[in-house]
Symmetry: C2
Subunit: 415 residues, 2 copies
């Protein structure tokens, strides 16, 4: 039987190359970038003041141009005032200053900007200012053209979720659209004659279909477009139709009917529909009966997952196998293992690795995993506080508080 | 001048009570729950098998009913087969068994389920099975009604983002709609005569409006509904109109024009429009000129933020003040301080607390903060790798690798 890591590798090996589309920058939040973003021009494009103050000429900063009184104040004539968005038509000469605002382009022959609060304005005659020579230092309070980035530098590489600061940075560079991956479609079929829609009242022996709303939400948080195909009876004809419909999507997720019971018809019907089985069963708890296969037609590939019908099992199988597959489909880097510290003792029952629901928190400089107690694989209610799994190995024996464990945070949104 | 924590407290004190609306459960992903969810019925509603196998009567489990051969196998007659969704019409008697599937309701007088792989089926006469007495133990492989949750228990309390497992759990309970907070509207006005839309080519001395797409994306990740009001010249009449328009929203965010330059007209125009100033200036770097006030009319409150026009300053002010305000508006708990460990030495320049952009990562059991080098508050391009701020205090002096620092992770999506 496959281990979790073998099974994950087998899944990822079958994911097709991401499709792409070009979207307006303002609609790219949370999408996965598929191109390199190259700086098209120097940033800033022109040298500018970083403070409100007075522009001083290179001549005066170099000490050329004359007598400095014992006060240390150089008396300069204010010849212009430059606000952001305006360029002074004049060259700045010795014994002159120009008032300048933050962000405004510095005039020609300007070597530094002295902040307004350091300058003495001549009250009877505001055309003159007294500027301390001690404050004049070449380059001070000037952001030179190209100081932030040079034309041709790579700002962003593909394979990342686009976040607000990145969108802002691209807007600054004048980028109006970006190449991102196409969002995969995920068909979701819940099988089981005992299921009723979650809004309905279950009759005797029936249960509500809680897995479908959960998988729909999980698919959304993974950046996919879910397509809900409803409930399917444990009936070969009905299954066949739903499977044909579901195979049109990029990913088909079926729940229930993958174990070894007399009504577990899903694997057989998938094979009959032309889906090639890659594995059936993974050495893990919960989720052992999970099934995975691939359907290929001339122009289309569909990854097919048969998840166990227990809610916790299907939640675990989605996070372990379906989410990474969707991530690779979107062009993201594959997930890397992550370690946390157990906040309490923990037993492993049985001989399979246990994916123990935990609350992950990072408050005090360490990443902590607090196990959540759960009754069994049907106990979805225990999962409402959890936000990840810790992988507990049976060979390890009992776990102590403070032991390091590998953890898998559940997907928390796509940006 | 206000400290960051005083300023944040002042902002939060002015946030109105969250508005609410009822939405279908399937549309509630990422929304903030505003009610307690109470378990309406025992879960599971009926006692059920947790394995495929054979249901054994309480009489046989209690050892009543006769002779056990030396093989240890009790020979039982199979009188029914129960699949999930069906109820057996019969009572299970001594010396009888019923085939039962995972999830199916156990019959009357059943005390345990013995897994199919432990049972010997009588090949010539499959109406009889041999069940090891050693496998019969009361309660084994049965999930009792109410074992997961009892009617009246509180499953979820308000004030949390709804995530997939929670949606699944509510679906299981038959909940079809939930009370969530109303998403606040955020008007965004960029002021500055030097600005051109980010898609346009800047003329001499002009710059692209990169802040607006960034703040739009930040607002979305905070769960708000952004309303882009475009660029506004540094002109009192134009400002007045934009402010009147912006005050219709729950939050008005203006950028630029809040410093002490000759074109910094925003605070005056806000006061003229009837906005009551709460503070102007916070002892921090970047973002010192930030302005905050409140507008109240008969039926409406608008929180008004004037953010500095430098991209990094406005990013910081959004994360420090606007995002927590939106969080409280949505009914979330206020952010709690979070600590990480510096991955390299770090200098604090100047006398104000510095909000240093960092890359936060939690790979190896510790939460690490890697400082990002940035040129100045205009350097949005340096922010593309960062995902949080570390707060560096000038009194601390130089920071060493391994020092603990308070960090503020940037918003990473609303579920």
């Amino acid at each position: 039987m496959y281990t979790v890591s073998n099974a994950l590798k087998a899944v990822l090996d079958h994911v097709p190359i991401p499709g792409s589309e070009r979207v307006p920058l303002v609609e790219s939040l949370g999408r996965v970038l598929l191109e390199s973003i190259v700086v098209p021009e120097d940033v800033p494009a022109f040298s500018k003041a970083t403070m409100d103050g007075f522009a001083i000429s290179a001549d005066d900063v170099a000490g050329i141009g004359g007598y400095v009184p014992p006060s240390g104040l150089l008396r300069l004539r204010v010849v212009d005032s430059i606000v952001a968005g305006r360029i002074s038509s004049r060259r700045l000469n010795s014994q002159e200053a120009m008032q300048i605002m933050t962000g405004a382009p510095i005039p020609q022959n300007c070597a530094c900007v002295v902040p307004v609060e350091r300058v003495q304005v001549d009250v009877p005659d505001p055309e003159w200012v007294g500027v301390p020579v001690s404050q004049m230092s070449s380059g001070l309070n000037i952001l030179t053209a190209g100081a932030i980035a040079r034309r041709g530098e790579v700002l962003l590489k593909g394979g990342i979720h686009l976040r607000p600061a990145q969108i802002g940075a691209m807007a600054e560079l004048g980028i109006v659209d970006v190449l991102v991956s196409r969002r995969p479609t995920v068909s979701i079929v819940s099988t089981g004659s005992e299921l009723v829609p979650s809004g309905a009242s279950p009759g005797p022996g029936q249960i509500r279909n809680s897995i479908q709303p959960m998988l729909t939400a999980q698919s959304l948080t993974a950046g996919a477009l879910p397509q809900v195909l409803g409930i399917c009876d444990d009936d070969p004809k009905h299954l066949r139709l739903k499977i044909l419909e579901g195979l049109q999507a990029d990913v088909l997720v079926m729940t229930g009917g993958v174990s070894v019971g007399i009504r577990d018809l899903v694997p057989e019907q998938l094979l009959l529909a032309g889906v090639k089985r890659v594995f059936h069963g993974v050495w893990m708890k919960p989720g052992k009966p999970v099934w995975f296969g691939v359907f290929r037609s001339d122009s289309h590939t569909c990854l097919v997952f048969g998840l166990p019908g227990n809610p916790v099992s299907s939640l675990a199988c989605f996070e372990l196998f379906v989410r990474p597959a969707l991530g690779r489909f979107l062009g993201l880097a594959d997930p890397v293992p992550c370690t946390a510290v157990l906040s309490q003792r923990c037993q492993v029952r049985g001989d399979r690795p246990v994916y123990q629901p935990v609350v992950l928190s990072g408050g005090n400089g360490t990443l902590e995993a607090q196990p959540v107690s759960w009754t069994n694989s049907a106990d979805l209610l225990a999962m409402v506080t959890a936000n990840g799994f810790a992988c507990l190995e049976p060979e390890h024996g009992a776990y102590d508080e403070g032991d390091a464990v590998e953890v898998l945070p559940w997907g928390i949104g796509n940006w």
